[in-house]
Symmetry: C2
Subunit: 246 residues, 2 copies
DNA sequence: CCGGAGACTTGTGTATACAATTTTGTTATA
DNA sequence: TATAACAAAATTGTATACACAAGTCTCCGG
């Protein structure tokens, strides 16, 4: 039940297979969001996308609906879809959920881990290092997230993997909004560390390591700081008192 | 962050609010599946539903897509939607995921639990008992699942709650397929037991109780037995070796 | 009597058309 | 000049039409 040599067990992040057109569209937008080609808050008009993909709005809507269901988009009635801009509380909830799920999963991963899984994970870390070395930030982001998903995929539990995939994708949005420039470069070395613990079949240490890792990632975020661009203006200016000349 | 007096924190199972038409359709079908008015494997033709709800297929498709995304329906290309009929491995995965998530959540629940949460949960158990007493099997099923969701909802973690809601809904399908007539009536008394542990703020006992509870529920299922009706014949006969005469 | 080819029926996949709503731009009035 | 009312444009919501695939039935041949 855990054959996943390199794939992630569940369709969405899969790249190779011939898929239906709507799935391809979903895929493209998904990647664009997770790899941050489009910033949180960006409007995604149906017409525009329909032209871009050379299909009717029907298929675009289908893809958008799915992305919205996964929390990557916000769809407001009659106002269309925007790349989600997680609030601080939403962000905290996502990380809390990840803590809960990923830490609890580590013992199961240790239990289920086979030699080929370990090999596959090592290859992933190698790829991460490569992306890191070549300064490819977008690829690094993607691979780093994929690693966490692949880890849980070792358990062969599809619902779990699918859920974590959502959380990881949303994490990417969260980092995009609240991330500060410094401190994301060490996740790669970190992932390598975990593999040592897993190889030693040390469930408890793996769990603790994951807890610390996620805490560290969350640590680098600036939840208190100014929200980057295009915040809720009404609320913003209500909180800022006009002071001094003009 | 945990005001949910009686609601489940997340939209789908909410009943009261005025909602968009597509949401209402989703709701109706969702309830029909979870309360087992429609059996697993039942075909759900778009035309028929469109007539039933007096809308076009467009809205029906929207609702069906969402239900499929949540694993309650299976949509095969050009073959339409059917109420999902979980395989044995899918069923096991769902319960494993629940074990992982719900057990891990118990300490967090204990931490977050407030007096009003406890009150709300007690009211739920009371309602469960009432449904049990009045022999209303469908309501019992629904309330029993809702209890688990409401429990985790105490944490105020929306992604977690939404995910668990999916797992619980799928569990209902699983019980519909693999459940044996006896042994589901005690979950109500069980739930009351847990509340005692929670009230005592005993995180570990609560976790253990939940593990045992879920194990017991899974125990009542007959994964090994003949798959009720219309099994996968191809797979079935591939596994049975021709032996002896003929 | 059984099995297969082809027409027919049913139902889904996608595109397009139209209605409703929001947003933007303009003009009139205080 | 500032504000409000109104008009126009852009965009989404829903329905319908048509293309296509799958399933079914009939009829013919073996």
């Amino acid at each position: 039940m855990s054959d996943l040599g390199s794939a992630t067990l569940d369709a969405p992040p899969g790249e190779g297979a011939k898929q239906s057109r709507d799935a391809a569209i979903y895929q493209r937008i998904y990647t664009a969001i997770v790899e941050r080609h489009v910033a949180p808050g960006t409007k995604l008009p149906e017409d525009t996308l329909a032209e871009a993909f050379d299909v009717s709005r029907t298929l675009v809507r289908k893809a958008l609906a799915r992305l919205a269901h996964e929390g990557l988009l916000t769809i407001a009635p009659n106002r269309g879809a925007r790349v989600a801009r997680p609030t601080v509380s939403e962000a905290r909830e996502v990380f809390t959920a990840r803590q809960l799920l990923e830490c609890a999963a580590m013992p199961v991963v240790v239990e289920a881990l086979r030699a080929r899984d370990l090999q596959s994970l090592r290859r992933r870390v190698a790829r991460e290092r490569e992306a890191e070395r070549s300064q490819d930030a977008r690829l690094s982001i993607r691979l780093s997230g994929d690693f966490h998903v692949a880890l849980v995929a070792v358990t062969g539990n599809r619902p779990l993997v699918q859920f974590l995939r959502q959380l990881v994708a949303r994490s990417s949005l969260i980092v995009a909004v609240y991330g500060r420039s410094g401190g994301q470069a060490r996740s790669c070395r970190d992932h390598g560390e975990l593999l040592e613990l897993l190889a030693a079949r040390d469930a408890e240490a793996s769990r603790d390591w994951m807890a610390e890792h996620l805490r560290a990632v969350e640590e680098t975020l600036g939840f208190d700081e100014a929200v980057s661009h295009s915040p809720d203006l009404k609320q913003l200016f209500a909180a800022i008192e006009p002071r001094g000349a003009l």
